[in-house]
Amino acid sequence: MAKYIFKRICLAIVTIWAVATLTFFLMNLVPGGPFMSEKAVSPEAMAALEAKYGLDKPLGEQYLTYMKDALHGDFGQSLRQRGRSVSSIIFSKFPVSAKVGGMAVVVALVLGVPLGCLAAFNRGKVWDHIISVIATCGIAVPSFVICTFLMYTFGVKLKWLPTLGLTGPANYIMPVVALAFYPMAYIMRLMRSSMLDVLGQDYMRTAKAKGVSQSKSIFKHALRNAILPVITYLGPMMAYTLSGSFIVEKIFTIPGLGGQFVSSITNRDYTVIMGTTIFLATFMVIMMVVVDILYKIVDPRIKLK
């Protein structure tokens, strides 16, 4: 197990390095520099700016400096937000996104898993149909529609929930629901089909033939097998929800990383783009490693490589 974890971590480091390198060179290929704007900048001023940010040096040297700094968590200064380092921006925005996203993950799991099971146990009956309608909506309806719907109904019409910012606990409800809806629907579907599959397995019949009660055979024998596809989905899901959704953050005015990332792109804030990309890539890779290890714990058939 320790060896497996060690290997996975080494692989993760290589992946992160590759992403960082790729990001660095791609950013340099993009036509137009960070200081291009509507207003013409004099050549002298441009040269001074480039010297200040080290952009006059050869590319190889820039790369080495960048990577060395990045290793220490220093992604340079923001080009647009004067006096703020990229890391400080990421570390002020990410926790906001992660908090909303984390709650969404919990909600998606807590609702998705039992509802998916419920649908499987009542296959073809009323509950199955109701849940299938919810699941289809959750998967098909784009998040801005859900956000707008929530905002309009509970915020504007009924005035039950605050619509701006993240000032109190009630502020979290709508963004969390909006963010959780898709993964919840997805988990419901995964859980339903894998539970149906497991219920038809021979080992479930064995359990019954041993005299195991129905509830125990579901909790002990079925659930642990049926949850495996959900665990696989956990990695991409956490990456998607925790990194902050641009749409949800924009609509509910949440000062999170998702919104920040998009505005840094429109602003051509190169250092922020690069820093955020590398940070998010690292975060996703870590999530994948964690999920792989979790999977290994739940399913002993996964061989230690």
Binding site: D202, Y203, T206, A207, K208, A209, K210, G211, N225, P300
Partner: protein
Amino acid sequence: MSNKLVDIKDEYLSFFTPAGEVKALNGVSISLNEGEVLGIVGESGSGKSVTAYSLMGLTAHPGKLISGELNFNGHQVEKMSEKEMRKMRGNEVSIIFQDPMTSLNPVYTIGNQIEEVILLHTDKDKAQAKERARELLELVGINEPDKRLKQYPHELSGGMRQRVMIAIALACEPKLLIADEPTTALDVTIQAQILELMMELKDKLGMAIILITHDLGVVANMCEKIAVMYAGHIVEYGTVDDIFYNPKHEYTKGLLKSIPRLDATEHERLVPIEGTPIDMLNPPKGCPFAPRCEKCMKICLREMPPVTEFDDVHYTQCWMNQKEMMQGGTANE
């Protein structure tokens, strides 16, 4: 008889599927004494498994018992509640299935799965259950039991998994072991070992066995009585000698012709008799074997043949036998 362990009387059982009512059992009667071995043979879909499973209440939904009595070990199984049946399953009657690869839960250790049934039916504590599981693994001939207890099913070979299934089945020393094609999924050499083990354990523990198989060779070597099933009927029932040396039903005769020698040591699989089995959704009025029977008479198509009893044990369901019986002649081929 007083020591009758199993007594199934005239069982009718159907599966209510979306396509219609599948009449899986149409008047099946089986009786078995303690410590006896009964073989059930017949081609696929003839109702062998359903007969055995119904005795454990394992045919619930969409299966439904239409009529008949299921007596087992003093219970009237057809009247038992689910809860009562739970106490019986794995305890008084156990089963081993065809495919040991899929019959064990992949995410729990062998030890866990053996201990589960012990903890369920005895008042042993965890440590005692573990000790018993160890004993059982030794009993079924698995080496290094301590190591095996901690292993997962995928770490064991097919033969070993079937031994584990046997260990689970025997954990509470059942009165009856149902073996549903226990060796079909295994290599030939392993097959012989598993069957030998079953017979050895039967002698040691004195349980009765219902052995379901396609393999007439196995039946000849292991069983005392044989039920030949066709389309949800027991078309012939008798001792091994009756079936092998004095078969009466046309279907049984066909089965026997399909193996080269009666004492075949190499286990030949049944070569199906010419023709296709009947559609269980729309069974014919008369003898279900009529479309494939060389001796088919007019009455066979019109009416289900009655039971013809040759002696206490041996009986068939065939018009031909009935006719011969009426004429008082002995049936000679």
